[in-house]
Symmetry: C2
Subunit: 515 residues, 2 copies
């Protein structure tokens, strides 16, 4: 097999794109800035959706759907908000197309009275609806989430990390009190942290953003930040306490328990297909994609190895036996009936998640190519079965993390496979955590910060009093930004001089160059 | 309670809107033609998604995501296709907004080089991608589905049935042979039929569309058609055999088994949020929404009835006991911990579908108002518990279909509740089937067809040789269209004179006025 993935040390950016291409996760579309998410990539998003959606519902949220289009005038009602999004909005101006009778070219026709913006985020249109729905404190809280596509016109795009259109979820809640809104904001931040760590095996730091990094229209933005293998940080999810800003802009008012008329307190929060970029960059290696089992669409590939037709028959029957032990006889029969002529066989291991075991019985493809394909696609386990294994009743089990075992067919069943998958998941998280901790250092001065960022990147802790001016200077000089203000519990406790102003402070922040 | 729902006999259209409003399913948004799908309405869509998605995956399909935007030039590549959609396209022409320095008004800025159309359907952009993915017969079939929003600019909109933006799924498959594509088209048609009948309890007719009713760019369109209570038909899902039309327009070519270069055979198929309109109109009555249990977000409401505080305490404890029997102690504890201050309690009956049992313990709301709310929202069962029931160990069980039973608390548990839900589902389907059959008649002449359509509507079977001219005339004179050409197995078998041309034919069609 020709090597088709650039190594990380050669060119990290190219490695990222090569991994995506080799695993067939996504590709650029003919529409500028928009990507096509291919089935394997989309299955990762479905895993993210399922995991988060369940957690949202268990914490009392419901889903709803609001219009794709937002009237131009709505965006302008919250002044910070419009400034944040004005120059990256797709604007719909016409409602038809026609052929130019002279040139034959197509052109827009039927201009709209008021142009519409394709939602870059939905605070404004949702705020307008909440204003209609909320009358009394009894109508609160509203705990709504939306799964949707959004558009932010980006000049420089990068698959999953920054695309003109992306998929996300946006939660929008409205509350009676400031305290309740803050509780919701932090509860969701923690929900994101747990999901990303438990399911995606990506360790994250959680904390607050500085004023210059917060969402356009928020009082406070909280985020989870992950560390990639190249020493850059990646914002993996945000949770905003919007205070009464949008409630005032859209008149979301309610009669309070004391009969006064009050503005509601709102929050919004989201994660997007960007998480898939974080997933790829957290775990993958120079051979290709590495996926945590809790999200991998294919959990194992069975590779039958045979030279003669006779060997092939007995090896395929043995492979079937193995898959039946893992997935159940019924599932194997169903899968075969479903596609009687297919060479490969996809069998559901988990009916709820549709995660699969794949028997790679393709003819005319040699075993090393099959290994190579499974490796590049990040399949956690590979089961090899050849004539010797059939004779001895064994299976060669290779993990995507490099381990190799020879085990008896008898010892392989759904529970033992699940245990292997759990071990794999744990190892992956620990590996990422070790890497993250190795890439976290401290700086006591601005010079030290600059030296660390230039030499090794990563997260750098430092005493710092956030200000727009100081942050702008640091960004200009080092490309780094304040990723998070560390929560009080994670600070050292001592007062030390701010690395820019020299004024003593107990505030500690995490600097990093970020995606 | 003031009567807030117009009766069907008074004004069927108003009744439909009143039912949607009373059940809080959806409402018009400030964006012309676009609706807001409220949580209860969206939960219906989630039920439809879950049911279909599982069936798609079990039949070998995978999901993917393609761009929202389509270059103007792509739409024009298939000539029938552009004609079908040109005058209902939202067109994006700019990528930013700015303030007019003189008037202060917002206006579009940064014009795009090529305008983009918001997808009305995705055959063209997906065709362009398949052309890149398909090289050899080994790359086929491609069996991809997409869950997405689409936009078709409609002048006269109606919640769920016809909106500028709607949600749907669109399957797009590519095959090696014409026969395989036809098999897929019909397999999906049958999958739709089974889902709509089994889960939504809506009986449907399945068959082929005439040329004048088929999809813009298809060789053949098949559809399922349901009969509403007002005698109008509603197209509930379509499955198109696109032949090689899009493969030729987008050069989806592959090296065949015999080494010749061939164009692929493609299909596309979809159902949309329109199905929710069919669901509402199939089952609901003058009191409000009626929902089949397989799709109802709330399966039962428990209404505690108490006059004194002491009664209230014992009745609420009894209600908790009931819900614990249905949903499990753990779920009740979890729900209560989740929202300790909430007056009502939402407990998951089914963790996989998130269908709930609701204890309506709201203070200051009288039991008749609670009954009324549950009725209007189409909750299948209502459990009433008062002091007498506590004393006797009984529960009053009322079904949304009008039955009332007094049963012992002991007899209520998850399996017996499931059995009640199954009975309810069956009754609902049988009721709708009876209504549909009563509204199906035959006509042997055009005069007879006209008389039936004028008097009673419904489906009218008739011998008819489809032609654009005859169909246009019938539509102009009666508003009716050919909903389906009946499959051979459902025809009478005899040759009879076409009701328009008088020429003998064995073709039978189903006429109806349609939504």
């Amino acid at each position: 097999m020709a090597r088709n993935i650039t190594t990380r040390s050669q060119d990290y950016s190219q490695w990222y794109l090569d991994v995506i291409k080799a695993a067939e996760l996504a590709e650029h579309s003919p529409v500028r800035g928009c990507m096509v998410i291919r089935p394997t990539g989309y299955a990762l998003w479905e895993g993210i959706q399922a995991g988060l959606d369940r957690r949202f519902k268990e914490t009392g949220h419901v889903n709803a759907y609001f219009p794709l289009f937002i009237p131009l005038s709505f965006l302008a009602k919250e002044s910070q908000h419009i400034e944040g999004f004005a120059m990256e909005c797709a604007v719909v101006t016409h409602s038809g197309i026609e052929r130019d009778p002279e040139t034959g070219a197509l052109r827009p026709t039927s201009p709209l009275e008021e142009p519409l913006v394709v939602r870059p985020t939905s605070e404004t249109i949702i705020g307008a609806m909440y204003a209609q729905w909320v009358r009394s404190w009894r109508d609160l809280p509203i705990l709504i989430n939306q799964w949707a596509n959004v558009v932010r016109w980006e000049m420089r795009t990068r698959l999953f990390l920054r695309t003109a259109e992306f998929l996300w979820q946006e939660g929008h809640t409205a509350h009676e009190t400031a305290a309740e809104a803050e509780r919701e904001t932090l509860m969701i931040l923690d929900l994101y942290r747990r999901f990303v760590e438990d399911t995606l095996a990506i360790p994250v730091r959680a904390g607050m953003k500085t004023d210059s990094e917060k969402f356009a229209g928020a009082d406070r933005t909280y985020a989870i930040e992950a560390m990639m293998q190249d020493g850059k940080a990646l914002q993996a999810g945000t949770s905003h306490n919007l205070g009464q800003n949008f409630a005032k802009a859209f008149a979301i008012q309610f009669q309070a328990r004391d009969n006064t008329l009050q503005h509601a307190w709102t929050t919004s929060w989201g994660v997007s297909t960007r998480l898939i970029g974080a997933l790829i960059m957290s775990h993958s290696d120079d051979e290709g994609l590495v996926l945590p089992p809790r999200i991998a669409p294919t959990l194992a590939t069975v590779v039958p190895i045979a030279k003669t037709d006779e060997e092939r028959q007995s090896v395929l029957a043995y492979a079937d036996k193995l898959v039946a032990r893992l997935c159940g006889e019924g599932e194997v029969a169903r899968a075969r009936a479903q596609r009687p002529n297919a060479e490969g066989l996809e069998v559901f291991f988990d009916a709820a998640t549709h995660q699969r075991v794949y028997v790679d019985a393709r003819e005319g493809v040699r075993p090393p190519e099959k290994h190579f394909a499974a490796e590049q696609r990040g399949v956690p386990f590979r089961f090899e079965v050849g004539p010797r294994d059939v004779a001895s009743g064994n299976v060669v089990v290779k993990s995507r993390l490099g381990t190799k075992e020879i085990v008896s067919l008898e010892s392989l069943d759904a529970p033992s496979f699940r245990a292997r998958l759990d071990d794999f998941q744990k190892t992956l998280f620990e590996r990422a955590l070790k890497l993250r901790d190795e890439r976290t250092t401290s700086a006591a001065s601005y010079d030290e910060l600059k030296a660390i960022l230039a030499e090794r990147g990563g997260f750098v802790r430092a005493p710092f009093i956030p200000s727009r001016e100081a942050e702008a200077r640091i960004k200009a000089e080092t490309k780094a930004t304040v990723r998070l203000i560390l929560p009080a519990a994670e600070r050292s406790g001592e007062r030390r001089p701010c690395i820019v102003s020299g004024v003593d402070t107990d505030v500690e922040v995490l600097f990093a160059v970020a995606y």
